[in-house]
Symmetry: C2
Subunit: 433 residues, 2 copies
């Protein structure tokens, strides 16, 4: 006998779990499609070289890599952005802007721990071939619409811009080569606080003098407004561009009616990945406090790694696993996970054909109907319906058959009534309503 | 620059392709759920030992295997039946009968060739924990309903029973140990004909004498009826059981109203896999002639490989790739793959917020609406709409805005009209109808 085991960090989703996941996914897709996004699917395996060098030192270690039969290194998909970039590079004539969504598993050889898995779903939307900040704004609007649709209220969409951060660094006398270190330090603000960030900047000696240090610390401590930083970076071309993009984004959100408490300019948002080039954004759920559930930004240079012609692109990603966790914990208990509405019990096999015909008629009326096949005692059949929370059970014996009647049991109310055969569909619909 | 390449035998599905696939999948799911099947999802990776020894000599070679970080051999999912068996073994108390569907990719390191891929989708339904032949019959009924829903008419569901075949072999003097060879030879009937099959049986010397050879040849040549074989195997317990199961199945199909031309008892159907124990079935599409598109059967001993308690099970699998190919070739050209219904063009950025509000109102009325963001010439924006077959384009300039009007262009009819702002939703719905 082989021991039945699932690999560590991997999960099965039984029907109860699937019901929640599918509900969230279908609500997301409805929003995505209402904004004109179409689906894309890419393989689970990519050539390793397509993925390598994109995810930073830490990410690199987590790629699942192996040699295929032909001796080439392949890798399991690590995210959905790199495969999209490869697709765009391979299809240079695709109609642009290309707006796609993809909801699919990705794999990371991480240490399994609570809430962290080696296989998990990402839900990504991206707009490729449009350099307007309104495209970035749309991603944030969609983020709001999705979270709102899923019932979230207390969340904060933090928005910043790499151009503004670059100009901030330049104005503070930080050398171009040191900007990556500056961003990496800034990215830790939540964890180590302003003084910790400054300490790290000092350790790496990236800030030239006391005066600049003071300015940076001030910006880190205060809730720096867009006007504050606009004034500070004025005259640095990149900074002015970034500020103008921020204005387009903020004005879009206001026009769309996104409540002011759900978004804010946040100069301290840096985002980890190196490839961002413009607006960046991230959503933090305050209640329950589960941290970041979406993140994204503009990456105008990434696709250029695979093709001579650079292509502007921006995208954002929803962490399905965290969304599911929250909705499972805060949502109503989803006892009725099955979509089955009616179970037809079996008296004995001579009545089976009769049951099949009733089932067919119910299904044709749009009612999800299951037939019990094994000749178990009625009690066992009722337990089955109860375990699966099937709301209605139909019971047919030889007497009922002769009288052209049927017994309908409403499992939730514990009621039972006898119904003429011809009124069955109407009665079932009444009980389901 | 890295060359953008997709691994051989793997595919991207761009939105045009996704539209067809999603439509087929959602039609299938609707049928599955109407019969009370719930979704299950399992990981793409399993421990290699879970998969090994299940798929025969040829299959074994096609498993994608590699060592994970912890030094354990893992493998990409090869089918959906073995993962289901592992899940059942790991959850012994799951409510039974457990009726699940799973639609997911599987991987086989096969030689890529026309119509054969290394990553492809399977759509499986299985009933676990029910030993009644009515469960097998339901799978065949669902197969009929799915193909019927998808628009297939000329197809043949072949049905046989391993118990009957075993009894046939026994009555023909074939030793128990040689039955696997007998089935393997029989499985080639379509390819090598009755005489080829007999030749193979002779080579393996599994038939004891001339008389038995004659009987087998007769059965292979003729359209052996259920009554013929029932008489031949009478008295062999297993054979009588199998015949009785066949009667239950055929009577279920008739009761459900499956047309007689769409199914038949076929003694020559053997199915490749070793693990079948009872009814087996397969669907062949006659027009267009694409061969087998579904296949399955009862496997009452498979789950027992992973758990002490054996669990009865039966299942069938739809080959999504072949279904898609046929429906793409025979179906209407699916030009309008996008679900976007309206594109709002942009005159200049001062009108963007106005466009966003119109878009929001349209979406709230259930209309899928896209906003164009880049300030391209109108002609380019119209080309975009035309490339994506978006049926309606809205055009707003400063004059229209002042007059609270909007220009609606019906792209299919090439018509244009000017509409008061307040009548927009009504007008759009009229044009979409």
């Amino acid at each position: 006998m082989i021991t039945a085991q699932i690999p560590k960090g991997f999960r099965d989703f039984l029907p109860e779990k699937m019901a929640v996941r599918q509900k969230i996914i279908s609500q997301m897709i409805a929003v995505f499609e209402s904004f004109g996004f179409d689906p894309l699917d890419t393989p689970c395996l990519e050539y390793a070289e397509t993925l390598e060098g994109k995810y930073g030192e830490e990410g690199e270690k987590l790629i699942y890599r192996f040699e295929d039969r032909g001796g080439r290194m392949v890798a399991l998909r690590y995210d959905l952005t790199i495969p999209l970039s490869r697709v765009i590079a391979m299809h240079p004539t695709i109609t642009k802007p290309f707006k796609r969504y993809q909801i699919a598993p990705v794999w990371r050889a991480d240490k399994p721990q609570k809430g962290r898995f080696r296989e998990f779903y990402q839900c990504d939307i991206d707009i490729v071939g449009c350099d307007s900040a309104y495209a970035d704004a749309e991603l944030i609007i969609i983020t709001f619409e999705v979270l709102h649709t899923l019932g979230f209220q207390s969340f904060n969409m933090r928005i910043n811009n790499r151009k503004v951060l670059n100009a901030f660094a330049k104005k503070s006398g930080i050398a171009d080569e040191a900007i990556a270190l500056f961003l990496r330090a800034l990215d830790k603000l939540d964890k180590i606080g302003p003084d910790g960030v400054m300490q790290e900047m000092r350790t790496n000696s990236i800030v030239p003098g006391k005066e600049q240090e003071k300015k940076i610390l001030q910006m880190l401590h205060a809730e720096t407004t867009l006007d504050d930083i606009a004034e500070y970076v004025r005259g640095v071309l990149e900074g002015d561009e970034g500020i103008s993009e921020m204005h387009s984004i903020l004005s879009s959100l206001a026009a769309h009616g996104v409540p002011a408490e759900n978004y804010q300019f946040d100069l301290s948002l840096a985002r980890g990945l190196d490839y961002y080039t413009g607006p960046i954004f991230e959503t933090v759920v305050r209640e329950p406090s589960i941290g970041s559930i979406t993140g994204g930004g503009r990456y105008d240079n990434l696709i250029g790694l695979y093709t001579k012609q650079p292509v502007a692109a921006t995208g954002t990603s929803f962490g399905l696993e965290r969304l599911v966790t929250v909705l499972e914990e805060t949502g109503k208990e989803n006892r009725q996970y099955t979509k089955t509405q009616v179970l037809i019990t079996v008296f004995d096999s001579t009545l089976m054909n009769n049951n099949l015909i009733i089932a067919k008629n119910l299904r044709q009326a749009g009612i999800h109907t299951e037939v019990y096949f094994s000749q178990h005692k009625l009690k066992k059949q009722l337990t089955y319906a109860s375990n699966r929370s099937i709301p209605i059970v139909l019971i047919l014996g030889p007497d009922e058959l002769q009288e052209k009647k049927i017994t309908l049991r409403n499992m939730q109310k514990g009621l039972q009534e006898t119904i003429p055969h011809d009124d069955l569909i109407k009665a079932v619909k009444k009980h389901l309503a």
